[in-house]
């Protein structure tokens, strides 16, 4: 069974509403970058017990946004230190307070954070993560008698996933660690389009999840977009998706000091039968080509709110994300409960059906741009077929 989590970020109350009011998803992955400490602490206990707190130490020298309200965040512990100076002394202090925070709030799991490492070989990677995070956190976990399952956070970069030796070294290391129940994986593919169209990357990611699961480890995969449906084939114990694009594809830019204002993305609506987010301006020709009427286009309690001619489309509107949660999360939950031999054919069937719809759209003369069309779907099918073959 796979649990479905909300990846919390800016406007995180939408996630809480969706979980509590609409019963979408099973829990939250709380991100301190956009949530002040006192607000996180004041969340209902019942909610915290089925949620996870991700300390987000990705760039430990930059306490961006609300991260500065957490005393265990490395930069807050020692003002003006640089990432290079983050040594074992700081690491132990930070580990103790961070774990105590997770213990006292009674989260479902405890997370050992990691920093983002882009260019190093497997030896250096493992050494640095061990020295600064894994060893101090495990030491403190023993001291504090942590009872919750402990998950090791890993940012899976392209470099790691595309290097079989690196992946193998990483798996060996993770599975050799005592007290670790599993991993909280964050896939990071910087060169991606809005949908992942790289079957090799998807296969490697699924294989990594599968290998950990074969070693009886828990695996939660965060920051996922619609490809979450494909990854269910690898039977992770949890997957997380969020509202804004930076919560559906990990982007370290959100954690840097770079305050350059970027133009927000165009408002898209998720159409579950198409397994795609569609630019709102294409909605009418898409509906017409499929002979769908708007009220029946992925009906959710939010459809009547956005499906009006006067809806003021903007990427910051809550209705479009609450609708996404309402139509996608129940699908993921249903699939996640299916037996392993039934889930892959079902996912493939969903993808084939979506492809059929896109064929109809194309035949009707509707020319969608590459971020709105179905061009990701054949890659997903290839990834699933090859992954199944290797099982």
């Amino acid at each position: 069974m796979t649990n479905i989590y909300h990846q919390m970020g800016h406007n995180w109350k939408w996630n809480v509403d969706s979980l509590q009011t609409d019963s979408c998803g099973d829990g939250l992955i709380i991100g301190p970058r956009y949530t002040e400490r006192h607000k996180v602490e004041s969340l209902p206990k019942e909610l915290k017990r089925r949620s996870i707190f991700d300390p987000q130490f990705f760039l430990p020298a930059t306490a961006r946004g609300k991260l500065s309200t957490y005393d265990f965040f490395p930069q807050v512990m020692s003002q003006n230190f640089s990432t290079l100076e983050y040594n074992e002394t700081f690491a132990e202090k930070s580990a103790e307070t961070c774990l105590l925070f997770q213990k006292n709030n009674e989260y479902e799991k405890c997370i050992i954070p990691c920093r983002l490492i882009l260019n190093s070989d497997s030896e250096d990677f493992i050494e640095e993560q061990s020295k600064l995070f894994v060893s101090p956190f495990l030491k403190q976990a023993t001291n504090l008698q942590i009872k919750q399952p402990i998950l090791l956070q890993i940012i899976l970069t392209e470099r790691i996933l595309r290097d079989a030796k690196f992946t193998s070294a990483l798996l060996n290391w993770i599975t050799s660690l005592d007290l670790i129940s599993g991993c909280y994986i964050i896939p990071y593919l910087p060169s991606r389009e809005k949908q992942i169209k790289d079957p090799d990357y998807l296969i490697s990611l699924m294989q990594f999840i599968h290998d950990l699961r074969s070693n009886n480890m828990e695996v939660i995969v965060g920051y996922l977009n619609t490809e979450a449906i494909v990854l269910l084939a690898a039977n992770p114990t949890g997957i997380a998706t969020g509202a804004y694009e930076n919560l559906r594809a990990f982007n370290p830019q959100a954690f840097t000091d770079d305050d350059r204002q970027k133009r927000g993305p165009v408002a898209r609506i998720f159409v579950v039968r198409l397994l795609q987010w569609i630019d709102n301006r294409y909605l009418r020709p898409v509906e017409q080509s499929l002979k769908w009427s708007r009220p029946t286009l992925d009906d959710s309690r939010y459809t009547p709110l956005w499906a009006t001619p006067d809806f003021n489309w903007h990427f910051s509107k809550p209705e479009i994300y609450k609708h996404y949660f309402s139509v996608f999360m129940p699908l993921l939950q249903t699939l996640g409960k299916m037996p392993p031999d039934a889930i892959i054919p079902e996912i493939k069937d969903r993808i084939e059906t979506a492809r059929g719809y896109f064929d109809k759209i194309e035949k009707a003369g509707v020319v969608l741009a590459h971020n709105d069309d179905g061009s990701h779907l054949p890659f997903w099918l290839t990834a699933l077929n090859l992954f199944t073959k290797n099982l």
Partner: protein
């Protein structure tokens, strides 16, 4: 065969032509033209807007053009976007590179997007003439209609976004 050096040259040549207005019988309407008109859906290289203000119910029509030296497929995607707010949408390609687009003319027919080629000397060849179709995005069409009214009234004060109208009046040969 002489080719256009840049897309800008191609657009410049097209902007001088009364072809679009004439082909769709709008010579007696007030005409406006704009280049690189943003703020709608995509940025058409050329946007012609015509209006009949003197009739009881003012009406307007828009013709959008995407000009490319060669990349017909990218042009088709862009031209389809312009159908969100225009009644006719065209792809114009340098005559020297028109062959791949002609091999795929069915895509233009299916999407009701016009295809023409333009030679370096300005000679135009129409390969597919689109039929009249109402734009598919009501909000953007309303927005453009307001912009047309503003430009025809030479009303810069009411603009929230720019002092300079995106469209300027133009007069073509009758």
């Amino acid at each position: 065969m002489t080719r256009f050096k840049t897309e800008k040259d191609l657009v410049e040549e097209l902007s001088k032509q009364c072809f679009f207005i004439k082909t769709h019988n709008y010579l007696n309407w007030c005409s406006l033209v704009g280049q690189e008109v943003g703020g709608y859906f995509g940025v058409p290289d050329l946007l012609f807007a015509v209006s009949r203000l003197q009739v009881e119910k003012p009406s307007f029509r828009a013709i959008a053009v995407e000009a490319k030296l060669s990349a017909w497929k990218a042009a088709l995607v862009q031209a389809y976007r312009y159908k969100a707010f225009s009644h006719y949408s065209y792809v114009a390609i340098d005559n020297a590179n028109i062959k791949p687009a002609l091999l795929n003319i069915d895509s233009f027919r299916r999407s009701n997007i016009g295809l023409l080629s333009i030679a370096y000397d300005g000679a135009l060849t129409l390969h597919h003439r689109p039929k009249f179709e109402y734009p598919y995005c009501l909000n953007l069409t309303r927005k453009l209609q307001l912009e047309v009214i503003r430009a025809l009234n030479n009303d810069t004060a009411s603009s929230k976004t720019s002092a300079k109208p995106l469209l300027r009046p133009v007069s073509f040969c009758h």
